[in-house]
Amino acid sequence: MFRSIDDVIRRLGEQKYICNKNVATVVYLACAMQKPVLVEGPAGVGKTELGKVLANSLGLELIRLQCYEGLDEGKALYEWEYAKQLLYTQILKDKVGEILQGSQSLKQAVDRIAKEDDVFFSEKFLLPRPLLRALVAEKSTVLLVDEVDKSDTEFEAFLLEVLSDFQISVPEIGTLRAKHLPLVILTSNNSREMSDALKRRCLHLYLDFPEPQREMEIIKLKVPGVGEKLVEEVAYLLQRLRKLDLKKKPSISETLDWVKALTLLNMKRLDDQLVQETLSTLMKYEGDIRKAEEELKRYLADRKTKLHAAAVESDKDLLH
């Protein structure tokens, strides 16, 4: 586990995940208090990534449960492995015969077999789905419940039970209690408001687009060999783009793709032609691309005047 908030920043940094103090504090608290974290924020700011990186940096197994509409307990929790049960009964036919040997009546036979039925409804024949796997794991795990807002309210209520007590009751076996409490990360894109009850049980973390400084760090980390000047310009331009009224704002992952494209094309600075041609890696909607193009023009014009002003400044310096 993490020793301090700075320790979180450092160790996530080792996994190439740059986070600010906010994120680190919440992560630290979640580990120390053993509470689930509900991470909200726009798409593509690294919510899911946070879960993965946490697992890596703590050296724990990552168990991921992707939520969708119609996800039910059978797919999230456990199922009986009927095929296996059947197979075993077939194979063990003789053994069953032995047990039944000498029984006088049908009733006696049933009683005898009933004594043994634990064998067939034991954990051996339980097919654990992500939630159960996280609970019964021998070591502590990181349970990533992704896009929990996509699930139905019924599933949410069920999740609530699991998250508050970390135990599950299986009718045939009894209650299974978590051997080690998993570290739970829930992510949500806010397509619907989660219930208060669920939120009450979680710590809340809102991940937003990074500040330019941090974004520059991220780009440099993830795209090695990228030009200093280019990174600066990209980060600055993205700040401007995200302020526009877009259908989908460019996320970090898209930014990284874009920068990769630009470096492949051997760009040292943003220039008109190539940028326009590559904008489609950054924007996914026609209307957005158009808006971005306009903003780009404005940006380049601004840069020109600024450069010009700077040039005039330096000329003056020379004169003096």
Partner: protein, 469 residues
């Protein structure tokens, strides 16, 4: 510390952020872990444990500053101004403060505690003294919602501000009598003057904070029940703000009703895969037939809501309801009209509930400053959006049917009824007045599957059962 956190959560609650006792305990636990020494961690710990909705985030930041940072900002501001006025840099200013303090030491018998703290620049002490004075004064003044001016005046009297002023003047006179250099004296005069100004500013700040802290009272249970039966047209601004909670409940009920019915349904297509799987436990003999019920019929709702002045409160409420519906379902399309029709689906998707509803009502989409004209609106809807109506659509019209004697165009409703699954009309007017004056209800009713008077939330509850059916 504990008391302070509890008090802070109370402040959050009063401002409409839900904080449960368990969250309160968690905040305390989190603080133990983070420690109170780290201001950033302190804030983050509180935010993560107490605030769970993005929409409340900004309010939290505001209240946090109000509650924990207190006068911090105002004090820094006043110091900066002082430095500028005296023409000193921070280091020189510190030296100057030292000088003043040593002078004050000589006169400490002639100064009240607050004057001494103020002149020495010990603003923390000043704040404590002010808060003490406010605490004794407090209570009923806040209850009666006095203005900032009145409140700050009261506290000023409590700390005897005239005495502070007198003592300050005496202090200056005394310094003069000691034969200080003229330029020092002048600087001292300006310094003292600025300090007094800062004091009155702090008083104001204090008043604003205290009044802000008690600005709202928590909504009680009775209050909600009372709201349920109150007619929309008598809603006050306060009621409207509180409606949020009711509306969410309502929408949830709507959704629950639907899923309840889904479970009871036992018809559907035979599902081969599921049946095989399920019957593995019987050795592959199909005992239990599985039916494919996955394709749940999502209600496709189209709402056409009158937002003219005559039904303003009702439509505000209805829009909130529609907003919540939209959050729960993907297939809701919302339109508003007075005379022309405008779609607000996207507006609702992109904005927070209160803003969205206000935007819709304030004419962001359509012109709201005209007379209502149902006929024209229907006609326009028919021409532009009729294709959105399908056989699965529940079509919901909300309005009083007062058409200002325009052409009613009731044929549109007939078309809609024929195509849609059902057509429901909710009228926020009392049934007794339907058909009188310019009300065209008599013409519209025959084309609707279901018409209901809907003047308060209780009636709306009943309607919802019907819509979900």
């Amino acid at each position: 510390m504990n008391d302070q956190i509890v008090e802070f959560s109370n402040l959050l609650r009063r401002n409409g952020i839900r904080v449960s006792p368990s969250e309160n305990m968690e905040a305390l636990r989190a603080l133990e872990l983070v420690g109170v020494g780290d201001p950033h961690g302190f804030r983050t710990a509180l935010r993560a444990t107490l605030v769970k909705r993005f929409a409340d985030m900004r309010l939290f930041e505001e209240l946090f500053e109000l509650f924990f940072l207190g006068f911090g900002k105002a004090v820094a501001e006043s110091d900066r101004r002082l430095m500028a006025q005296l023409g000193l840099n921070p280091k020189e200013f510190q030296e100057w403060l030292e000088q003043v303090r040593s002078l004050l030491e000589h006169r400490k018998d002639h100064l009240s505690p607050i004057a001494r703290a103020l002149l020495a620049g010990d603003m923390g002490q000043v704040e404590r003294l002010l808060r003490e004075a406010a605490a004794t004064e407090d209570g009923e003044a806040v209850e009666r919602r006095v203005s900032v001016g009145v409140y700050s005046h009261r506290v000023a009297v409590a700390i005897q501000i005239d005495r502070v002023e007198q003592e300050t003047a005496d202090f200056l006179a005394w310094a003069e009598s000691r034969g200080a250099a003229p330029e020092i004296l002048e600087r001292l005069a300006r310094y003292l003057d600025e300090r007094l100004k800062a004091l009155s500013q702090l008083l104001r700040e204090l008043a604003e904070q205290e009044l802000r802290k008690s600005s709202q009272t928590p909504p009680g249970r009775e209050r909600l029940e009372y709201l349920m039966q109150k007619s929309f047209s008598y809603y006050t601004a306060e009621d409207i703000r509180r409606m949020n909670e009711v509306v969410t409940q309502l929408a949830r009920r709507f959704k629950n009703l639907l899923s309840l019915r889904r479970k009871k349904a036992d018809r559907g297509r035979f599902d081969v895969k599921d049946t095989l799987r399920k019957n593995l436990q019987y050795g592959g003999v199909p005992f239990e037939i599985q039916l494919d019920r996955r394709k749940r019929e999502k209600p496709q709702v189209i709402v056409l809501c009158d937002i003219s002045d005559s039904v303003l409160n009702a439509s505000r409420f209805m829009l909130q309801f529609v907003y919540s519906l939209q959050e729960l379902y993907s297939k809701v399309r919302s339109f508003v009209f007075v005379s022309e029709v405008g779609e607000v689906t996207q507006l609702f998707e992109e904005n927070e509930i209160q803003t969205a509803v206000e935007m819709a009502l304030k004419g962001e989409v359509i012109d709201v400053y005209c007379h209502s004209n149902f006929g024209r609106a229907f006609d326009m809807f028919y021409r532009e959006h009729f294709s959105a109506v399908t056989s699965k659509t529940t079509f919901l019209v909300i309005g009083d049917g007062r058409n200002n004697y325009n052409s009613p165009n009731d044929w549109v409703l007939k078309e809609i009824q024929q195509k849609a699954k059902q057509l429901i009309w909710l009228n926020p007017e009392s049934r007794l007045t339907w058909g009188f004056g310019d009300s065209e209800m008599a013409r519209y009713v025959p084309h609707c599957d279901f018409v209901e008077e809907c003047r308060n939330i209780e009636q709306l509850y009943k309607v919802i059962d019907r819509i979900a059916a």
